[in-house]
């Protein structure tokens, strides 16, 4: 795809005897929301971690915005515009939400290394923090300690942290995990609002959310791409039903 922002080719990653990626090819178009589904242990998280740089592939190549980033360090990928959220919430529990966002904002503004100024945010960055909190629906919690958040709010913060570095490509690892029905609906609206301005890879087990949001879906099984297509394509694919939906 000529306008693809991300392309992954021949990605292989083995953990001992397990091939978490066994030759994965993937292309994400600019502005696309590309969902990745597959059974537990099929290599979804490992794929995101390789795209983000936390896990080094054994073979294969990753190209982002026309640049080969296969061996690029994480902080450089973040500056280039890749960001991720985690399946298990990862934040700074003994700081306020605002302080949590400050790290990413300062990193993006390239002021994180300043060691002789006060850490307090500039007015412009303060406004940015407020805007992101508003976007994810946590405005009223800006000065709360993260430790005091409810589970659903943790999932919202997870997305806010991912947004704080101003990404072009968002890698979301199961943002719906553990959300109630109402919270799930709000999360669908939130992710839908990011479509178009962000390219998104959405790893998710919640099929309703996937079908509601995805432009295209890739099905992984045992580290291999089983199929890629629209929701309608996949719903009718016998191979997918057999491998993923467990139907004969």
């Amino acid at each position: 795809m000529s306008d693809s922002i991300l392309s992954v080719t021949g990605l292989v990653k083995r953990f001992g005897g397990v091939a978490a990626s066994a030759g994965v090819d993937l292309a994400v178009a600019s502005g696309e929301l590309h969902a990745i589904i597959g059974p537990n242990g099929s290599g979804k998280t490992t794929l995101l971690s390789q795209i983000f740089g936390e896990v080094r592939p054994d073979a294969g190549a990753i190209t982002f915005a026309g640049r080969n980033i296969t061996g690029t360090p994480i902080h450089t990928r973040v500056l280039m515009g890749i960001s991720r959220s985690y399946q298990i919430t990862s934040n700074f529990p003994y700081a306020t939400l605002r302080a949590n966002l400050a790290f990413g904002l300062q990193s993006h503004a390239r002021v994180a290394h300043r060691f002789w100024r006060r850490a307090s945010l500039s007015d412009a960055m303060q406004a940015e923090a407020d805007a992101i909190l508003k976007q994810v629906g946590l405005s009223h919690r800006a000065d709360t300690l993260v430790n005091d958040l409810a589970h659903g709010e943790h999932r919202q913060l997870e997305l806010a942290l991912a947004l704080s570095t101003h990404p072009r490509l968002l890698l979301l690892d199961e943002p719906f995990a553990g959300l109630g029905a109402a919270e799930g609906k709000a999360m669908v609206r939130l992710i839908a609002s990011l479509k178009g301005t962000h390219s998104i890879i959405l790893v998710e087990h919640d099929m309703d959310a996937v079908f509601a949001l995805a432009d295209r879906i890739t099905v992984l099984a045992e580290g291999r791409v089983l199929a890629t297509g629209s929701g309608d394509d996949l719903r009718t694919s016998a191979a997918v039903r057999a491998a993923y939906l467990g139907e004969p």
């Binding site: 960001s83 990193s107 300043r114 060691f115």
Partner: protein, 303 residues
């Protein structure tokens, strides 16, 4: 009392106590206070790594030793004839030594980090023993002519302590410093936010080594003597204990720790050689009370 107030009060006391002691014919008191201040400077240095980065470095006595040896050798050989130049050289040497140790040890975490810093400390110790020209096992004396007067030394130690506290305070409250502390809580997320955490820590490690090197240099001219024993691993462990007792990751912690350590040393070492047991009891208490140490106790809050 706020933590800044504790530091200001203690610095105010130290500013008058030393000169009064020297003019009042109590040179020993000034001697002890000088040692206390230098211990506190090394503690401030270690606190950057141990307290704010959350990295248990057990080799910091090596950086004190490197600074001490550089100053002693420079003074003996009279390379420059200037205390300032020797102090600068020792500070730089401490920073470089720490950068080298950090470049390797910071690749590891947890127990491996502790063991590697310990190993580097012991390597420095044995390297000092092998310096035949500079006394080997026995260490070396610095010619009396090369030593500054008591009051000058006291002033230098005081100035160094004030600078160390100020620099540490500035760093800790900067974006860089808050990021170091955030990375101590969650390194993975901090990395994911685009921070090259390893490099950030290496810089802190070097600053930490610089402060220890400077403290070591003044320690050398204060004692008029250096020996490999300065770098032996129990010195590193004591420094860690001192910072923990005083209050890791607090501005006043290293100063309060040095005060407790010196006070126990002075009071108890007259009675028994095993006074460090008492310090051990304080350490256990600090561990039980929590991270805040004496600083939290004096400030009246516990985190």
């Amino acid at each position: 009392m706020s933590r800044i107030a504790i530091v200001a009060a203690l610095l105010g006391l130290l500013a008058v106590a030393g000169p009064l002691a020297i003019w009042g014919g109590q040179p020993y008191l000034a001697f002890v206070l000088t040692r206390l201040m230098l211990l506190a400077v090394a503690g401030v240095g270690l606190n950057l790594v141990l307290g704010y980065c959350g990295l248990a470095s057990f080799g910091h006595a090596a950086f004190i030793g490197v600074g001490a040896y550089v100053a002693a050798i420079a003074a003996t050989e009279a390379f420059t004839g200037s205390v300032w130049a020797d102090l600068a050289a020792a500070t730089a040497a401490g920073a470089i030594a720490a950068a080298m140790v950090g470049a390797i040890s910071l690749r590891t975490r947890g127990i491996a980090f502790i063991l590697i810093t310990l190993a580097f400390g012991q390597m420095a110790y044995y390297a000092a023993i092998s310096l035949e020209r500079y006394g080997g096992d026995d260490g070396m004396r610095i010619p009396a002519a090369a030593l500054p007067a008591d009051l000058t030394l006291y002033g230098l130690a005081f100035a160094l302590l004030a600078v160390a506290l100020f620099v540490s305070h500035q760093i800790v409250h900067s974006p860089y410093g808050t990021i170091l502390q955030g990375a101590a809580a969650n390194e993975r997320r901090m990395t994911a936010l685009g921070i090259p955490v390893g490099r950030y820590r290496l810089a802190a490690y070097a600053v930490s080594g610089a402060l220890c090197g400077a403290a070591g240099a003044l320690q050398a001219v204060h004692d008029g003597y250096v020996s490999p024993g300065l770098m032996a691993w129990p010195r590193s462990a004591e420094l860690v204990a001192m910072v923990l007792v005083g209050g890791a990751a607090t501005t006043s912690g290293p100063l309060l720790g040095a005060l407790a350590f010196t006070a126990l040393d002075e009071v108890l070492s007259g009675w028994t050689d095993h006074w460090r047991i008492a310090f051990g009891v304080l350490l256990v208490a600090a561990a039980l009370i929590g991270r805040g140490g004496l600083a939290a106790f004096v400030a009246g809050r516990r985190e």
